[in-house]
Symmetry: C2
Subunit: 464 residues, 2 copies
Amino acid sequence: MSTWTSVAEARKESAIGPDVEIRGWVRTRRDSKGGFSFIEVNDGSCFGSLQIVAPGELSNYESEIKRLGAGCSIVAIGRLAASPAKGQATEMQADEIRVLGWADGETYPLQKKRHSFEKLREWAHLRPRTNTFGAVMRVRDSISRSTHDFFHDEGFFYLNTPIITASDCEGAGEMFRVTTLDLDRLAASGKPVNHELDFFDRPAYLTVSGQLNAETYATALGRVYTFGPTFRAENSNTSRHLAEFWMVEPEAAFFDLSDNMALAERYLKRLLRDCLDRCDEDMQFFNQRIQPGILDRLTAVAEAPFRHMTYTDAIEVLEKADAKFEYPVSWGVDLQAEHERYLTEQYVDGPVILTDYPSTIKPFYMRLSDDEKTVAAMDVLVPGVGEIIGGSQREERLDVLTRRMDQAGLNQDDYWWYIDLRRYGTVPHAGFGLGLERVVQYVSGMANIRDVIPFPRTPGNAEF
Amino acid sequence: MSTWTSVAEARKESAIGPDVEIRGWVRTRRDSKGGFSFIEVNDGSCFGSLQIVAPGELSNYESEIKRLGAGCSIVAIGRLAASPAKGQATEMQADEIRVLGWADGETYPLQKKRHSFEKLREWAHLRPRTNTFGAVMRVRDSISRSTHDFFHDEGFFYLNTPIITASDCEGAGEMFRVTTLDLDRLAASGKPVNHELDFFDRPAYLTVSGQLNAETYATALGRVYTFGPTFRAENSNTSRHLAEFWMVEPEAAFFDLSDNMALAERYLKRLLRDCLDRCDEDMQFFNQRIQPGILDRLTAVAEAPFRHMTYTDAIEVLEKADAKFEYPVSWGVDLQAEHERYLTEQYVDGPVILTDYPSTIKPFYMRLSDDEKTVAAMDVLVPGVGEIIGGSQREERLDVLTRRMDQAGLNQDDYWWYIDLRRYGTVPHAGFGLGLERVVQYVSGMANIRDVIPFPRTPGNAEF
C-alpha cells in the first residue's frame, strides 16, 4: 500500500526488479576505488540493512553522497538485483539518491564505536537505532503479538482492567498515589488533607495487578486476559526491577491448577517458537553477541515438557543441595532468587513449575488445599531470570475465602464485589501473571531489565 | 485443549454427538408439564445460550434442578442433538447436571427484570453477565484484536510508551500527579515540598499521549503503534469523557498527510468489517435493542470511500448552513461538537476527514503548510460520536519546529530529545490517535462512554 518498499521486503529475492524505492537511514558508507560507494541502509523493518551501490555518475555524488554518514536519512531509487556478495540476497544499483536529513558526524551520538548499555540509556530516544535495541524491540513486539494471538486462539477475550484504583488493600506501601491535589498548596497549608477534594473523592493509586478485576470478567465471559502496565513504588535499584512494567494476566473460569499450568506452558512455548520463527536475524544476533548458546537453549525449551515440582519437594532438594545459600532453607520459608536459580539452573537445567506453596507465604485468594497447609499456587521459573510467571487456582468457596481474609486482617467491606463472585454462581477458576519484560530478557539474554523496555522508570528516573 | 466444550462450539452443528460437557451459568429455567425442564446456559463465549433439556429422571431433578435460577453455575453432560426449535441449531439432552454454585434469587441483583444502565454501573462486577455488556465487551475485544492484526499486517511494531512521565509540558492542568510522598505528613508539615524526596526526584504525571515518545521509535523502527491507557484529570461529568481511557497511536516514518489519512481509513474499515464478521450475534443485538439501523450504516461505511474536506471548506459549509449553532462559526475558531455533528450527520451523512486546520488552534508539532496559516492536521469525525481520530503530519524541519515552540512559549530544554530527532536524520513522518472507547460506542451504538469500558474512572468514581 506504500509507494515504496521496506528494507525487509527489498532484501528478499522476490523484490528483484527495476524502479524500487526504499527509504531509511544510513548505517555506513564505504567508498570504492572504482569511483562509486556502498551505502548500508536500514529502516527498522528488520535487523539487516540493504546495500546500495551509488555510482559516481549520480549528479549529487560528490556534493552529497560522499558526505553521507551514520544516521543520515535518504530515499534511494534504483534497480534491485541479486547480490554477488555473501550474506545478502539482493542489493540496489541506485539511479537516484535523495538526502532527507543530515546527521552531523561530530555531534551525532551513535557513531561507529560501540557504547555501553549504561551510556545508551541516556540516549533512550536514539538507542532503538542501534543493532541491539532494534533487535530487542522487534522481539518485544513479537512476544506481544504472540500473546494476543495465543489467547484469542484459546478462546480468551482481551480485557482492560483499571489502572487507577482506590483499592489500596494489597500492599499499599508499594503503590504510587494518584492525585489532583496541589502538593505545594497542600504542604503550605499545615492542615489535614481533605481527600474529598481529590479527583476521585478518596485516595487513589496505580494498580499493582488487574487480577481481582479480571476475576469478575472471567466469571461472566469465561476466559479473559489483561495486558497492560502495572506499577511498584519499590525503591529497588536493581537490574531486575522497574517501577512501571507490563503484565499479562489471563483468568479462566472452570480452570483448575493443572489446566492453569498447561496453559502457561503452551503460552511460553508459543512465545518462544514465534520468536525463533519470526525474528531469525534478531535471535542470531543475540546468540552471537548477547548470550552465546541461547538459540539452542530456547529451542530445547520450546520442545520438551516442563518439569513440575511441589514446593515441598523443592525444599527437600535444596536442603540436600551441595551449595552454599545465603538464606537458609526450611519448609515454610519463601524461596529467594538464589534458591530459584539453583533449582532451575543446577537441578533441572530448564524451566520448572513449582506448585503447592505454604498458605502462609501466599495471598488470601489462592485456593486452600485439602491439607489446609498449602495452596494451589504455581510459579514458573526459568534459568537466568528466575520467576517469569506466578499464578494459582483461586479460592472459590465463600466460607474459606472470608476466613482467609479475616486471618490476613483484611476488611471484607473493601472486597464486597470480589466476595460477591463467590456468593452468586461461584465456579472454580484460575489464572496467572507474566511479566513481559522478564520474558523479553529471557528470550534476548539481555542482562538488565532497563534495556528491554523503551523508556524505563526506576527510582529517580522518569526522563523522556 | 479443554476437556469440556464452550457454548459457542456447542451451538454449532459440528459439535453434535454424545458425551458433550459444557460449563456455564444459568440464564433461565422453564419447567415443562411433561416433567422435564429447559435450561438456558451461557458461558460468555458468545451472545447466545445453549438450551439444555433436563429430564425428570435425573437423580437431582427435584432436589436441585428445579431450584436452579439466573446466575447459578452448572456442569451439564449429555448428548448434543440438532434442535427442533427455531433460532438454535443444537440443544443438549442432559444425562447429568452438577450444580457448582447457587445464586440466591432473593438477593442476586441480575434478576429477569431489566435494569437501567445507570443502575448496572453500580454493579460493574456483575454487569458483564448481562446481554448488553457481554456484547459490548466482546465487540471491544474484537476491535482490540483487529487493531493488533491490522497494524502488524501493515508492518508496524507494537510499542509501549511510558505511562508515568516527567513532561508536564502539554497541558499540565489536566494531568494526574503521581507521587510517593506521604500527603498527610506533607500537609501537616507547613513546609515547601521537597520534590527530590519524591520517587522520581521530580514531579511526575500520568501520560496524556504517547505520541512524542512514539516519534522517537518511528524514526528508528520505521512504523510503530502504541495501544495503552491515557489520562485526563478533566472535571467533566459527561457521557463523552473518561479520566482513564485507551488510545491507539500509530506513528510512521516517511508518511505524509495523505498516507496518514489512507491508513486511518483502512484501519477504521478493518475494525468495522471484523466486528460485522466476527460478532454477528452481538451486532444483531445492538441493531435490535440499542441503535436500530446500525448494521446497515456500519456496513455502508465499511464500503464507501471516506469524504475529505479542508477546515476552510467546512467553515464555509457551516456558515451557509440552515442551522442554529450555539457557538458562532468563522475561520480560525475551533469546531464544537455541534459543528462536527452537523458536518457528519447532516451534511455528509457518514464519516468525514477534516484537514488543514489553522495553526493557531493546533499544537506546535503539527507540520506548518506552505501557506504559513494552516497545519497538516486531520480529524476523522463520525456520526453520533464526533471526533474519533485526530492526527497530523509532524513538523520535521528543525528551524520551523523550534520557531513554533518559541511561539507557543515552550522551553526547548524540556524537549531536547524530541528536537534531536530533527537534528539527526530527520524524515517526514505522521501519525494519529484513536480513542478506543469512542470506537466501541460508534460500533455498538451505546450512548454513554462509561458503558463501553469495564471499570470507568470519572470524577468521584474509582470503585472496583
